[in-house]
Symmetry: C2
Subunit: 345 residues, 2 copies
DNA sequence: GTGAAAGCGCTAACAA
DNA sequence: TTGTTAGCGCTTTCAC
């Protein structure tokens, strides 16, 4: 077989030796240049780069990974929905991964899918990754994963399983607390909670924050209504709460449910915010334009992804260093038209 | 260094030879078993599997890729937003990729980011992928990419650049046409269009479908208003259209803009659907719960991803086979409360 | 600063 | 049905 520089035909891709030959250096020197190692004279570096350019050389990552034992890639497990939160987080993770010089591999898993998160993690391990990110996990009661690469769990308790786990959270508790306090500050005696599915750690955090806010002011904690993140479940909750009576304020665990809720309340004869105030969670793009515009809290997805990845990369590259715990990001409450003081009797 | 089977400590991962030794066969036989090749006796297969299980053996993908020249992975370029459409499509692509036995690598690119799509493709090529998916691309006026792996472009004209490009579309034109026709059928004399940014091929398709529907009935084509997919831009368009007068029906290129539009119209004193009918595009989760519930069309993301990946995998594995052109998926119009006959003068 | 030699763990081609 | 022998294109180690 003949090796040809260009693509097409029966050509084979150029290798580092080809570049070396053309540049009049050893293959090892080409390797040095492409790895940005020191001890390469400026002149040699330039010659190598030119030769590589001319040949259309591309470093073969499989060979590199085989020889070095590192893939320079990070795998992420996501929960398969187009939900705004998870989708936004994924974008943040991709960016942070690329900035850190790693490639990103993605495995999606649906709730209730066989294997679940553990299966997805396995498949990443099979592919070969240097680290794993589990984004917005749910509690599958999984006997702790035993994994031999560092794992970053975004938005879950620290004790997720492996000995090499780092975590970072969006500060959902403080956000939920702030949302609840906003309603109390408006004069509401207590606040109902339309929770997300409690298998999701993200949903639990919001519940905890809500409870904490009420507890701190010695307020009664009404029974929790649990939805499934969907607007439809929010609608159902609205009907239910309206029927139960006594509701003047609701904190919904995401904006989709909040929007469904508002409509459910409306169809039951309760106006927002005149009769009932509603706060959402996420600040999805349409929140400001629904009727009434939704008061909500914004999650710092990018900051969390960045911070989390910093920890993960550190765990990969400097396993012995003490991981600095992530600081809680600031709270971002967006007050719009869906909240107001309670109705006067 | 000592090789140990388990994780932790200074252990090294077990290799195929280790499994072979334990099972009393040759290393090649282990390879055969793990590749599902024929000509392995049931007995040997079982012994190998047991040995592998016992050792915690995992096939080394880097070595496999190096030896075979194939990475068994597909790269996808996405446009970095949490927009419902792109996010849904990504999920479909991930699933289809996995079902086809490939791993998925993701590179995100923001509109206007240096390098853009071409840069993202380059980075996937550097990583080493067997095929590339470009999801919902925008027109960057890029001199056609020269790429030596098959490329699937989801939602763009066939002549995207490389000689090895396949395409699949969501049938946006027919969907847009159906949306427009729905309004005409209700009695509207003509229909305005709130378009997406025209650099996106997805936005152009919708515009084309809208035009076609009007042209087919010899209706006047009002000037197009162009938004940026955001609800905010929809709001602005609502104000603008209301000021211009003469509007009784609008087809918006996505639901976010439609929702913003409705509010913009409302703030300008026009009610939906009494004064103006609005159709969206996407059927985002909250569409059914906003006020009024949004009439919209649904894109067949999963079907398109599946179909497109079938074509891509075929191009990878059987480069010579003639790619069967994808069939246009069925139209899914969801009629809700935002559309009605035009007001009587 | 640079180079030579020895693998990394697998698959390909062929032989048995 | 199974085994043998060569690489795949890099990085590593050590020498110069």
């Amino acid at each position: 077989m003949t090796r040809v520089g260009a693509q097409g035909g029966g050509a084979t891709a150029p290798r580092a030796v080809d570049v070396a030959r053309l540049a009049g250096v050893s293959q090892k020197t080409v390797s040095r240049v492409f790895n940005g190692e020191r001890y390469v004279s400026e002149d040699v570096r330039r010659r190598v780069l030119e030769a590589a350019e001319g040949l259309g050389y591309r470093l073969n990552n499989a060979a590199r990974a085989l020889a070095s034992g590192r893939t320079r890639s990070i795998g992420v497990v996501t929960l398969g929905t187009a939900l705004y939160g998870p989708a936004s987080l994924l974008i943040g993770i991709e960016r942070a991964t690329r900035d850190a010089g790693y490639a990103l591999r993605v495995v999606n898993t649906l709730e209730g899918e066989p294997g679940g998160i553990a299966g997805a993690v396995e498949s990443l391990l099979d592919q070969g990754v240097d680290g794993i990110v589990v984004s917005e996990p749910i509690d599958e009661g999984t006997p702790s994963l035993s994994v031999d690469v560092p794992v970053l769990v975004l938005g879950a308790p620290a004790e997720f399983g492996s000995p090499r786990v780092v975590t970072a959270g969006v500060g959902a508790e403080s956000l939920a607390r702030a949302a609840t306090e906003h309603l109390l500050d408006l004069g509401h005696v207590t606040v109902h909670h339309l929770a997300g599915p409690q298998r999701w750690f993200a949903a639990r955090d919001r519940l905890i924050g809500w409870r904490a806010a009420l507890a701190a002011r010695d307020r009664r904690q009404p029974p929790v209504v649990e939805g499934d993140w969907s607007a439809a479940s929010g609608y159902a909750a609205g009907q239910e709460l309206a029927a139960a009576g006594e509701v003047t304020a609701v904190f919904a665990a995401n904006d989709d449910m909040a929007i469904g809720l508002i409509r459910g309340l409306a169809d039951a004869g309760l106006r927002v915010p005149e009769d009932v105030s509603v706060v959402g969670f996420d600040d999805i793009p349409v929140s400001a334009y629904v009727t009434p515009p939704l008061t909500t809290v914004r999650q710092p997805f990018d900051a969390v992804a960045q911070e989390g990845l910093r920890l993960l990369v550190q765990a990969i590259e400097k396993p012995d260093a003490e991981p600095a715990p992530a600081s809680d990001p600031p709270v971002d409450l967006v007050v719009r038209g869906s909240t107001a003081p309670p109705p006067v009797r």
